[in-house]
Subunit: 86 residues, 2 copies
């Protein structure tokens, strides 16, 4: 018996890789408008997949596998996080 | 005394608004490659802000306010979700 699980995928640049979009939002928008309590901004891509699977772990396994096999992200520059939507 | 909190912002198209990027990833990549257990894909934008605040709720309040005031998203077509990174 399978159920449907919502799986989130978050793709961000690796720590050592610059994030010009996040830097721009931070310096030229947020800080300029006076929100000095914001220390940094990192941007990323968000995917929400609805997956039929035997369990939550099985759903995560399927999504991790397809993200790698279909090159949804570039492992050289991106970090990927796959988790159930809680 | 303030602490630093990591706050996630997820910006997605509202349910009634189409998501051509997600539809393309689903139909022309994931299904074509045989992952029939995936029912749907929705895409979105992910932001991770590091914020100095008095509490987690205070950090969320600051981020919600700046997202609205600085038009980080378009309330006509986007849903926004602001949460502490757990």
């Amino acid at each position: 018996m399978t159920s449907t699980y919502l799986v989130e995928v978050i793709i961000t640049n690796k720590k050592g890789v610059r994030d010009p979009e996040g830097e721009t939002i931070h310096k030229h928008l947020i800080l300029r408008k006076g929100y000095a309590s914001v220390q940094s901004v990192r941007t990323g891509k968000y995917l929400l997949l609805s997956v039929n699977a035997l369990s939550g772990e099985d759903a995560i396994r399927i999504v991790k596998e397809l993200c790698e096999k279909l090159r949804i992200y570039n492992p050289v520059v991106h970090d990927i996080e796959v988790r159930l939507r809680g």
